[in-house]
């Protein structure tokens, strides 16, 4: 039985949401939900694998906005408050469900209470610093950590300026180094968005590999002799690994994929929407707008109502079956691939980290089981990281991938369409203005206040460039917030530019902006001085 490699990659990213100007802010819940449902369950799974000495290999990309938010003191304090509120609600639920009518829900109420208490305990165990947990697992040699662009900018559409792309990449690497203490070997390009030529910036940043969608490889400048099952050398030594279609579909697809199984927890049935408003009011938005609380009592069940009660034990059993099914399919695939390839195939399976636990509640359990199964000797699937693969496989086909993304339709249209095209003239103009500002002040003796204002202007520009805002505009979810974020950051940039050019910097205003957009403490505006 010939062996093949399986490289599982989780891309962890959330937009930078940090609002000290409000006592609480709803969109900060995005981070809190991801910590509760995704990151801490993932850490729990990795802790169990370490405890059982399972020799898995897994890759996790951490975006700089997420890294910054996980380390932010204000958000850490607010998260603990959020967790205490969840625990309070779960306790209340254990009492409410003691009545005869609601008694079927009582064991689940206790399940959630224990879950949230455990989450708080884990958070406290790592002193509120989840990055420490990831670093710990990196240090065991099992978890490979990689970076992403500074604010998850959609690089192909920022590429009207090489400086814009260079700064997104270099600052992504710098932020990673600052917080994690070592250099990232690879990068997850935001939205898996590649364009020919970006590899030169990656090489400058000493990055060894990145990922493209399958058609990026298949439509490369020369025919890829091993399909998407071997990386391409972009010509400068930087490697492009292609996403495998089938393994993606098995997990992503809501119809064919595992998450839609009837025994898994139903995302869309949450007590925040189902219980009496008077009862749930203290735990929803502004005491009257219904939101998800994270307590859900039903399973997917199927298309017919009523939904059936969720059973965690049965769901775990199903996750284990699906993990085995996933590995079986990879085994079959590898056996077929080995008949056609001149080297050991590598199946690259990247996913959004937030899929596991948030949308697919049992995802972390499935992932843990996949890693356990592949560690045994009775299968031909070996988990590797891309660094592992490149260490053993030295010769690679040289070709340039085609421009591509992993978004809808596979190209740039999700980030450039009738809902969001209006942002690009502003983003491009602000980039040009920032570079001109740096150029105009190049070589001049600046005061500390001017330097602070210049650096803050660069932060404002970078935050406006995040791909999250055009994504949300197209998805039609929280479009008002996305619109406001882009215009706010551009307004802040305009304000700072105006203050600098008029030499009229209000330190109080500048300090306020530094507090609100408290990211990239080591940024250097001189990086916007255009380079050849």
């Amino acid at each position: 039985m010939k062996t093949g490699y399986l490289s599982l990659i989780l891309h962890a990213h959330l937009p930078y949401v940090h609002h000290p100007e409000h006592e609480s802010f709803f969109e900060e819940n995005w981070l809190f939900e991801a910590m509760t449902e995704c990151y801490i369950p993932l850490i729990n799974a990795l802790d169990r694998l370490q405890r059982d000495n399972i020799p898995y290999r897994l890759t996790l990309s951490l975006s700089p906005p997420l890294i910054t938010m996980l380390r932010d003191e204000l958000l850490q304090v607010r998260y603990v408050k959020h967790l205490h509120k969840l625990i309070e609600l779960a306790e209340k639920e254990t009492q409410r469900t003691e009545t005869e009518t609601n008694s079927p829900f009582n064991p689940l109420a206790h399940y959630y209470l224990a879950l949230f208490q455990n989450t708080l305990a884990v958070y406290q165990q790592y002193q509120g610093d989840l990055l420490q947990a990831f670093i710990k697992h990196h240090n065991t040699g099992r978890l490979e950590l990689i970076t992403c662009a500074a604010t998850h900018g959609f690089l192909p559409l920022l590429n009207v300026s090489k400086t814009a792309v260079r700064n997104q990449i270099n600052l992504g690497v710098q932020t990673f180094k600052t917080h994690l203490g070592f250099a990232p070997p690879g990068i997850w390009l935001p939205e898996c968005a590649y364009y020919p030529g970006i590899e030169s910036h990656l090489a400058e940043a000493d990055l060894k590999y990145f990922f493209v969608d399958s058609h990026g490889i298949m439509d490369a400048t020369t025919v890829p002799v091993n399909g998407v099952y071997a990386p391409l050398n972009c010509g400068n030594g930087v490697m492009a690994f292609g996403r495998d279609t089938e393994s993606s579909k098995q997990v992503w697809s809501s119809h064919e994929g595992y998450p839609g199984d009837y025994d898994y927890r139903e995302y869309y049935k949450d007590i925040g929407f189902d219980l009496d408003l008077d009862y749930i009011a203290p735990y929803i938005l502004d005491n009257h707008i219904r939101i998800n609380t994270g307590i859900k009592y039903f399973r997917v069940t199927g298309n017919d109502d009523p939904k059936q009660l969720y059973c965690p034990e049965k769901a775990l059993e199903k996750a284990q079956q699906h993990a085995q099914d996933f590995i079986n399919k990879q085994q079959q695939h590898i056996e077929v691939l080995n008949t056609s390839m001149d080297r050991t195939p590598i199946i690259v399976a990247p996913y959004d980290a937030e899929l596991f636990g948030h949308w697919w509640f049992e995802g972390p359990q499935w992932l843990e089981q996949v890693l356990r199964i592949t560690s045994t000797d009775n299968n031909n699937v070996k988990t590797v990281t891309c660094s592992d693969y490149l260490a053993v496989q030295k010769n690679h086909q040289i070709a340039t991938p085609s421009a591509s993304t992993w978004g809808d339709q596979g190209y740039y249209s999700y980030w450039l369409n009738e809902t969001n095209a209006w942002i690009y003239p502003f983003l491009h103009q602000a980039e040009t203005d920032m570079e001109r500002l740096a150029l105009d002040l190049h070589g001049l003796m600046l005061t500390a206040l001017q330097v602070r204002a210049l650096n803050q202007a660069a932060r404002s520009l970078l935050l406006a460039q995040a791909s999250d805002w055009p994504f949300i505009m197209k998805a039609g979810t929280t479009t008002e917030y996305a619109h406001k974020r882009i215009t706010d950051h551009l307004a802040r940039f305009n304000y700072l530019q105006d203050a600098l050019r008029k030499n009229n910097i209000n330190e109080r205003y500048l300090t306020a902006l530094e507090m609100m957009d408290n990211i990239f403490p080591d940024i250097d505006y001189r990086d916007y001085y255009p380079k050849p």
């Binding site: 100007e21 939900e33 399958s214 064919e256 691939l337 421009a403 450039l416 979810t477």
Partner: protein, 216 residues
């Protein structure tokens, strides 16, 4: 409640309401515009009531003054193998441009293409796209022939005598997409080709926040 920052002046303490007010003021007065119109000091001083301020904001938003860019320009952006996006700014720097803006239907977006691999590097091929919405939406998406791999554009008027009078030019855009799937299917073992089309990421309703998917 006050907040700390790595590098800010520790002697300055700001409360939550103060931070909110500063954020609100900057967003109001420095909202991005292609031709930024910043309220002058006199206007600021005169805004004695919230109502006046609201009116001022509305006017600033709805009646933004003219573009401050020093030259007209045109930008081309790739979307996918069949489409590009164009946006532009025109300034009224001569009679010709003014005439064009008053007669939007007269303007054409001319997109030139070349393919160096076919020894066609001179942008001698082009298509003309009539622009009829220039005053309301200075951007456009159009279909292109993907056999070419470099594009540039001009915005201008096609005169009756066939002369094209440009008023804005774009830089050359390298088209980043390739289309070789036909060749692959012939040259590559079918086992190595993707088995089926990828599911889109959005079938699972992925977004930065799931809240608005629920019970909508």
């Amino acid at each position: 409640m006050t907040f700390s920052h790595l590098k800010h002046d520790q002697t300055i303490q700001l409360s939550t309401p103060e931070l909110f007010e500063i954020s609100h003021t900057i967003s109001r007065d420095f909202a991005p515009k292609l031709s930024p119109a910043k309220p002058d000091a006199e206007t600021k001083a005169s805004t004695l009531s919230q109502e006046l301020l609201n009116i001022s904001e509305m006017i600033s938003a709805d009646f933004a003054p003219k573009i401050t860019a020093t030259t007209s320009h045109l930008m081309l952006l790739p979307i996918d193998p069949e489409h590009i996006h164009a946006y532009w700014h025109l300034i009224d720097d001569n009679e010709s441009t003014t005439h064009h803006r008053n007669d939007a239907s007269a303007l054409n977006l001319r997109i030139y293409s070349s393919n160096p691999s076919l020894d066609n590097t001179d942008f001698t091929q082009w298509i003309d796209v009539p622009i009829e919405t220039i005053n309301s939406e200075p951007s456009f998406q159009c279909a292109i022939d993907h056999t070419y791999n470099a594009y540039c554009g001009s915005l201008g008027q096609q005169e009756a005598d066939k002369n094209f009078i440009p008023v804005a030019h774009s830089k050359e855009m390298q088209f980043p997409f390739t289309k070789t799937r036909v060749a692959i299917s012939e040259d590559m073992p079918s086992l190595l080709a993707p088995q089926s089309s990828l599911p889109t990421l959005h079938v699972f309703n992925k977004s930065a926040s799931g809240q608005h998917h629920n019970h909508s």
